[in-house]
Structures are given as structure tokens and as C-alpha cells.
Assembly symmetry: C2
Homo-oligomer: 327 residues x 2
């Protein structure tokens, strides 16, 4: 049987565990071109909150009863695609479930010996690639820039900051709580850490001239950073997690600021860089091998606990990339 | 004697005529490197409102008693700069006054025979260059794009739309009142005109996929356009005239929209393109000579009426570039 976590109800504001259901259905056999995968680890990410809302965004919303979508890593069990053989580890959009069917073309094989294989769900996967393309292609760092990252200890933020550091920038991270703030400077090599739960961000940024702001959170934290922009600043809109549980996101930005600072604010989606994933993974893998990129995982044990892990992540309880270990 | 319009009081909200004073002082002689100019026409522009506020922006605010800054065209009366001789027409930041002293290096000589010479204050001057660099360098039009311009009948908007048309775009203009809307399609070659005073902008844009939005106004009109952006849209922040009389501009934008549309919003200031003014003027002059660029002037007669012309422009009463004929 296949255990799955599905959407039981659309969350009203902040999600609760009753918005999710655990069910069991038969394990299907792969049709032509399909691959059956036994999931080992599934990803927990802020963007999943958006899929649970009815509002159309860049992706179709989930329907009630749908398996929660996620990137997952698993082992091929049965394959009707000649490119995959049983026992191989793959990553793909496999969801929060024990077994998943996928078209072979939608899967990527993990490099043999990748240890831990969960790297394919973060540093060498979606969140690492998000940091890579957002920072380099959208933000375009120049050595000597001051780069501020919000959600700096999160899955994307921890990598974005380190990439900016590798590009010769001075990096300032904003995160919630003293433990995360300590991670920023001690683990992720941030030059300055701001704990927004215990510091006034605007005050903490006094004297800073922010050349790039890599924004994962939006809301009031971002409003403070906007007031410290430098001439020619770039604001990379990667996420707005503070807004994801709002029924209607609050306008928080006055576009006239972009005139004052001759600044650019730009959003992006990682899927638009699909044709360059190999480039990104290759570079990230080199930095990982060198020891130049550090990361942390925050693993929830058991598929049935995925909703709790998800809610904890939205609350900022995780340290590092949130994952669920399946089965 | 030199008659001048000065700042009598900082406007509270919308300016009134009592915020300005008319005075007379002696005409100064030029010091070394200086040129004395008799002003013929002075420009009236929305950005002047910003200079009247105490808040520091990209430029220093005016002090009480200062002559209102403006681009003006005039005739050299006396010169201590060997590059200029009496009788020549020049343009520079000469202000709302009859006589102005300027450093020779800050003046540009008008091409001989330029008719009317006021072209140097709009199509071949600051507003034309603003449209040129904003549209081409910031907005980067591609043939086939749908380009929406707000303040489309204004001094910058009328040129920005026509430049987008020359670049092969479909152009949609937003302006206030039926006369301006008629100008858009009949004079400035807009494909679609929207009269925001008599139409719902969001509704009028139904079915449009906006590839570039050239924004002169901000506020509610812009909020409607933002909801019609296309994937990959560029939003050029040229001005935010709807906000200039607000004590504190209202946040009107949710940056998360830039993720949904993978869009870019960017502000600019024309002074940053100073090193390329010759390029811009040369191209604009060719289009003017070809008859490819049309314009309208709205001339207020008499320096003493400049404040009234300014207030009228902020109210949208002008049709075309607002100027004051001095003396």
C-alpha cells in the first residue's frame, strides 16, 4: 500500500494539522515511459503554502484530496523507461508519499555516491539552484557589494549568502532568534548577523549602504532594508514568506523609492532556469566538494509528521533545510 | 532688474499660489567662467514639487527664498566663458527668473536654427531624453510588446509612447479626460487610449498582457496596470506624480507580484545618462525632422503666472509640455 499526505482543507491563514490527511491507496504499476519510485526523503518548502490556496499564481493550485507536491528523493522500484533501472536514486516532483509514479523525463538521476543523497533536495537541488540563479543572474553581485539576505538561515538564504561571499561581497544576514543568528556568522560565514526578533532591523542596518537585497520574507523586515538601499541597488525578490498566510498580501512597497535609488527590483522562478540546471549543479557541487559551501538539514522523521514539520518551518522553528524522512 | 519666482513657503500637500513669491533683485555680472543669460522660456515639471519639500531625495531640497529650479532656454547677454558669445541661445538649469548666471560648463548651446527653440526644453531636452533612456535603456522594448504608458499625454509620456511605437510595440496610453484621450490616438499614434477619469482602468485593460509599463503616475492607476502584467514584464518607474503631494507616499505595491510574473521594476534618473545626452538628442532630432515624433506645448504667458501653470500641471490641466514664456 502507498501512504500519502493529502490536502484535506484549504488553510485559512496559518495552516493547522487538520488541513492535511493521511491516507492509503494501492501502489500503481508504471505505464509506458513511467517509473515507480519509493520515496526516501521529501522536501518541505514555503512555496507549498501557495499551492494550498485557491488563488491562481504561477502554478495551478492543489485540489482537495491531492497529494502535497514536493521534490523528493527515492529509489527506482520498477521502470518502463529504458533510462532508469531499479535501485537507482532519483530526484523529482514526487510529493509527500511513499511511492510515486513519474514520467522518466521528469526525473534526474543522482550522481553515484552522492552523500548524503538529500543534498539533491537542497544545496544541489531546488533551493541551491534558487540561490544560485537568483543571486548571480538576477542580483549580479560585484566584489565589494554589501549584500543583505533575509531568511538568511533558511534553505535558500544560507546558500545565497555564502555564494555572495564567494563573489567577494560583504554579507549581512537577517534571521529570527539568537541560535540562527549564531549560525549565520559561525557556520555560514556572514559578516554581520541581525536577529530581527531581538533587534530593530532599521537601526541594526544604520550606516549600511545595501547594494543587493536578496529578499525571502517581505513585509516589515523588507521595508526596513529598503530604507538602507544604496544608489544602483538590486532587490532580488525570491520569496515573501511573511505574506503567504495572509488572505491578501499587504502592499508594502512604494515604487518611487526605485527612482531615488535608481534601483531595480526583480522577481524570478527557478523553473525558468531549467535549461541551466546542469551548470548550476556542477558549480554548486564543486563548492560543496571544496568545503566552500556549508549547510544544515532539519529532518522530520516519518511521513505522518510532514504537516507538523511544514507548520514548524512556516513558524521559523527549523534550523536549515526542512525535510521529511519517509518510512 | 531681475524678476524671479522664489519659494515662499513649503507646500503642505497640494501647492497654492501663496507658496511662491515674485521678487526683484539686481542683475549680477558674470564672474570668471560664468555666463549671464536672459531667460526666454522656463520649464514646468512635476519633479519641481519634490524640490519644494524638506525631505531629502535624490537632490537637495530648495530653501525658502530660493529661485525655483528649472531647465530654461535663453540668450547669452554677457559671457566670461570663451565658449559662449552674446546672442547665442543656450539651455541650462537657469530657473524661473528673467536673468540667470551659470557656469559655462553647465550650459548647452542650441543647434542654430532650432525651431521652435523650446524643443530644447522637451522633445530635444530633459523630457525627451527621459523618455528615450527610460524606454530604451530601462524598459528595453521588443517588437510586438504591449507597452502601457501612464501620464501618456504628458511631456514624457507623449514621447515614450511614440518611441515604443517606433520600436514596433503596440502602445496603450492612460490619460485623464476625453481631450487628452483623443490626443493619444489622433496625435501621438497610440493604439488604445484609456481615459482614467471616465473608465475603470483594470476593466479597460481586460485581455491585455502588459510586457512593459512605463509609469509616470503611481497610485491606483498603476495598481490596476500591475494586475495585467505579462510574464517577463518590465515596469519602468519614471515618475509617481500621484504621490508628490502626499505627506508620506502610500505603499502601493506587493513585491511578490514580481515573482508571479518574473518581472522587473526599475527606477532611473535622467542625470545618470548625462554622458549619453548627445546620442539621445541626435536620435530624437532625426525623428523630429522625419515627422515621426509629434508633441504639444502648453505655454503659460508671463513669469508671474508660472506658479499658476505649475499648479495647473499638477492638476492635469495642461495638454502637452508645460512651459512658461518669460518676459
Amino acid at each position: 500500500m502507498n501512504r500519502r499526505v493529502t490536502l484535506a482543507a484549504r488553510p485559512q491563514g496559518f495552516p493547522t494539522e487538520s488541513d492535511f490527511a493521511l491516507d492509503e491507496v494501492g501502489v500503481p504499476g508504471p505505464g509506458s515511459g513511467e517509473v515507480l519510485v519509493r520515496v526516501r526523503y521529501a522536501s518541505i518548502d514555503p512555496y507549498q503554502r501557495g499551492r494550498m490556496s485557491e488563488a491562481r499564481s504561477y502554478a495551478q493550485p492543489l485540489e482537495i484530496g491531492d497529494v502535497i507536491t514536493s521534490q523528493s528523493v527515492g529509489e527506482v522500484v520498477e521502470s518502463s523507461d529504458a533510462r532508469f533501472t531499479p535501485g537507482e536514486l532519483v530526484v523529482g516532483q514526487l510529493g509527500w508519499q511513499e511511492y510515486a509514479l513519474a514520467r522518466g523525463g521528469s526525473l534526474r538521476r543522482l550522481p553515484p555516491g552522492l552523500e548524503p543523497p538529500t543534498l539533491a533536495l537542497h544545496v544541489l537541488g531546488a533551493t541551491g539552484l534558487t540561490a544560485y540563479f537568483g543571486l548571480f543572474d538576477v542580483g549580479r553581485p560585484r566584489a565589494g557589494d554589501t549584500v543583505v539576505v533575509s531568511g538568511a538561515a533558511g534553505a535558500v538564504g544560507q546558500i545565497a549568502g555564502q555564494l555572495a561571499k564567494l563573489a567577494g561581497c560583504r554579507i549581512v544576514g537577517i534571521a529570527g532568534g539568537p541560535e540562527k543568528a549564531r549560525d549565520l556568522t559561525e557556520l555560514y560565514r556572514y559578516d554581520v548577523a541581525i536577529d530581527y526578533k531581538n533587534e530593530d532591523v532599521l537601526e541594526a542596518l544604520r550606516g549600511e549602504h545595501v547594494d543587493m537585497y536578496f529578499d525571502n520574507v517581505g513585509g516589515g523586515i523588507s521595508q526596513a532594508v529598503h530604507r538602507r538601499l544604496n544608489i544602483g541597488a538590486r532587490v532580488v525578490i525570491c520569496g515573501q514568506v511573511s505574506q503567504y498566510n495572509e488572505p491578501r498580501p499587504e502592499p508594502s512597497f512604494h515604487p518611487g523609492l526605485l527612482i531615488v535609488f535608481r534601483a531595480r527590483m526583480e522577481g524570478f522562478l527557478i523553473n525558468d532556469y531549467r535549461h541551466r540546471f546542469d551548470e548550476g549543479v556542477a558549480r554548486l557541487a564543486r563548492w560543496v566538494a571544496n568545503g566552500d559551501l556549508r549547510w544544515q538539514e532539519d529532518v522530520t522523521d516519518g511521513l505522518e509528521n510532514a504537516p507538523r514539520g511544514f507548520i514548524g518551518m512556516l513558524n521559523g522553528a527549523n534550523r536549515g533545510k526542512a525535510l521529511v524522512k519517509v518510512g
